[in-house]
Symmetry: C2
Subunit: 195 residues, 2 copies
């Protein structure tokens, strides 16, 4: 019995989170009701809170999961030796990871304003932690005389904005494959940092 109930909850919780992510990405956090999320998965609205927190907690959960997954995936990513290889790995990783998760990326960028202050501070800290991974690579490359960077912090923000921008226009049926796009962006990132 406990096993069955546990399994049910283990399946329903993630399905509700997936439904919420899809609905938030399509219509916006403010326009989606908890009732709609429940209906999408076939759960009674009254039973919803057995599986997931309130709408605000759900939004924070989605953003937290996305960023924790991003940090964990980057920690596992092979990156060769030295700052130039690390920067190429970061460029290709960032594009690939974000193109694979359009809904999560859209929510992470679009719905920040809808996070209440304590959640906002937590999510911002995770986002900055990821930025710091790139900043560390740039600082190391600059210290080694491999990169020409008048301002490491600004270069960090510029490179991340450039790479994340791919998610706003990339289409699977477009003229360029993901790998080709990543290669062309690596050429631009390399030049941007003067490597």
């Amino acid at each position: 019995m406990a096993r069955t109930s546990g399994s049910h909850s283990e399946i329903t919780g993630p399905r509700l989170r997936e439904a919420a992510q899809r609905l938030f990405a399509r219509h916006g956090y403010a326009a989606v009701t908890m009732r709609q999320i429940a209906a999408e998965v076939g759960v009674q609205a009254g039973a919803l809170y057995n599986y997931i927190p309130d709408k605000q907690g759900l939004l924070a959960d989605l953003m937290r999961s996305h960023l924790e997954e991003l940090l964990a995936a980057w920690a596992e990513e092979p990156r060769g030796a030295g700052p130039v290889a690390a920067l190429e790995a970061f460029t290709r990783f960032h594009i690939r990871f974000h193109l694979e998760r359009p809904d999560a990326v859209f929510i992470a960028y679009m719905e920040l304003r809808n996070l209440a202050p304590p959640h906002f501070a937590e999510i911002e800290a995770l986002r900055k932690s990821y930025e710091t991974r790139l900043e560390d690579i740039l600082r190391e490359g600059r210290a080694a005389g491999l990169f020409d960077l008048p301002d490491t912090k600004l270069a960090t923000l510029a490179v991340i904005a450039m790479l994340t921008g791919v998610t706003t226009w990339y289409r699977e049926d477009g003229r360029l494959s993901r790998d080709k796009v990543a290669g062309l962006y690596w050429d631009m990132v390399r030049k941007t940092v003067g490597a």
Copy 2:
């Protein structure tokens, strides 16, 4: 009488548009009601449609005005001679123009999904028209052998994403002035295009 009524309408319409822009930027299009917009300006909800179209038309109006103003301002911008000077002018112009209009920029990027198809097509065409201004500069510079660009279209998208990214983190009380930021971005843009 006609004069007074005209003036009243000429003032109320823009004030309603400003209020809508502020409310859409703060809470999101989906979360704002026409009643809230009316209340913000002290207009009776029933009289609202004398001054402005429905909520969808209002959103399209705001985006259209923003993009038309952007295109007109760039057309007026001094840009020196040749593609390198034009690219520097574009970089500084884009950052300045967008930092001066945080609410309009936020709406232009965040609320595209809330435009109905005919409006979406119109706004997309204006946005692409602006991108083409930059693409033309890059193409000209490439043809003249001044820029090293494996893919002009991708470089256009990369540069615009990089520059627009400034609006997501820039703070007036931060460590860098707008001019200083524009100068540092120009250094990066120049390198990105291999100039």
